[in-house]
Symmetry: C2
Subunit: 284 residues, 2 copies
């Protein structure tokens, strides 16, 4: 497994892989790998000859007062895990290389970023789309793999790729969960034992909403209130948002006709956790 630290080396390597007729699959990450990340790498492996995993804790997608400095890091552990999964190249650019002096360009997706986490974390998605656009130009992948746990991020990046005509296939991978349902996240490491117990209310509330749908409930407010009640019944939780929205536009729904994205963000102790599922009105 190669480890690359400069943009130029990365571009030269990628160009040579492409010119040799091989495909490049990119998994952009902020490191501190868990099973969710490894699953993204396995999926990339399935669809491409060469896998590049980028590892960069991107400062521009953290807001003031967010957990940039506390964000967990474990480069040695990450390298070992990536090697075990068969990653070909780990790309670890420096912040100085990413954002040199004089840097002043941003990529912005306008409408999709006005909802959900875009409201709670102003500027977050501008940071995400900009760094992902940069990584795409650095790694020149044929395809890139993202987790569906960050549903809005996947939607925003897919939109950017389509709108800017980037010739890259975007693949979304279903959320990987702990055996008890907790969605895997690097931020789970912030949780105490008691907080982790409370954090289970996120996935439980998704199951609850799915059950209510099966029983015929179609009113978004009713579903939302049930989800909120489930989460609020646990200690250490503070809801940021619970939303039922159109899975394509992310606009809020009042009634669920066909399908809806149920998305939630909840502060549990020091961890801001997100989770989501698609609710479908078909009982099949």
């Amino acid at each position: 497994m190669q480890r690359i630290e400069t943009v130029e080396e990365m571009q030269v390597l990628s160009e040579s892989i492409r010119m040799a007729g091989h495909t490049v699959g990119l998994v952009p990450t902020m490191g501190f790998f868990h099973e969710g990340h490894l699953e993204l790498m396995r999926v990339a492996r399935r669809y491409s000859d060469t896998i590049v995993v980028s590892l960069f804790v991107n400062p521009t997608q953290f807001g003031e007062g967010e957990d940039l400095t506390a964000y967990p890091r474990d480069l040695d552990g990450d390298l070992a895990k990536a090697r075990d999964v068969g990653v070909d190249c780990v790309f670890v650019p420096s912040a100085e290389d990413m954002y040199p002096e004089g840097y002043q360009t941003e990529v912005r997706v306008r409408h999709l970023t006005r909802h959900l986490c875009g409201l709670s974390r102003p500027g977050h998605f501008d940071g995400v789309t900009t760094v992902v656009a940069k990584l795409f130009h650095m790694v020149k992948p044929h395809l890139a793999v993202f987790g569906q746990k960050d549903y809005q991020q996947l939607a925003v990046i897919s939109r950017m790729v389509r709108d800017l005509n980037m010739d890259i296939e975007i693949i979304g991978v279903p959320t990987v969960r702990e055996p008890d349902g907790l969605a895997m996240s690097s931020r789970n490491s912030y949780l105490s034992v008691e907080e982790r117990e409370s954090a289970l209310s996120l996935s439980r509330s998704l199951t609850l909403a799915r059950d209510m749908m099966t029983q015929g409930e179609r009113n978004a407010a009713t579903l939302r209130e049930a989800v909120e009640k489930e989460i609020q019944s646990r200690p250490f939780t503070r809801i940021d948002y619970v939303r039922l929205c159109d899975p394509n536009t992310l606009e809020e729904l009042e009634t669920i006709e066909n399908e809806a994205l149920l998305a939630l963000a909840v502060q549990v102790g020091k961890a801001r956790l997100i989770d989501n599922c698609i609710l479908r009105s078909e009982t099949s």
Copy 2:
């Protein structure tokens, strides 16, 4: 010479050229070719195996009340001229293909766009950087060629390319002028005989400033006033701006230490004309 009208065909063609080991040079244009455009194509020819000229009058870089609908067009003439210069491929995308329904992404260079034309034409450069980023992803060039007549555009695009790590070389080509000094521009076609005579004051004022520099003048206000007086002495002219600024940051200068960009924008009849030169304090 190939003529391509869809994004997908363009990407397939460019990818195949690249995979064959040949280089692609792009000249992005809004058509209505004059000698200035043809010079860009000749330069592209010098540095690349295959030349693609894109031809798209981009609506998003025109402001309200600007000359989008009046902008001169002559596709047949353009195709003939491009063929004569040895262009390999003319890419003529449609506005629907460029900006399909739901389109919502923009690329923005923040600081360089706050000066000169960025002030007079709000949103103009966001339209430029976004469409150029799209064209780069569509045509996948190794290099792209722009005219120095649009100095700020060249600076903004170079900044975008560097900031977003696009693996593309940007080449700036000196302004091509009519024998009497008028900078070539598609918008010169708006000028009456009398207006064209007045328009000569732009290039004359650049020469005047250069002469004053040679004679030792270093005060930006003095130089600016002389330039303004020269232009205002002609009928049909209305100055938008005359600025002396740092050639790298475009920030306004009070005194010229080493070099300065002298940039001007002047409405002459229906035509908004721009011109510029670099003033150097060396007398060599």
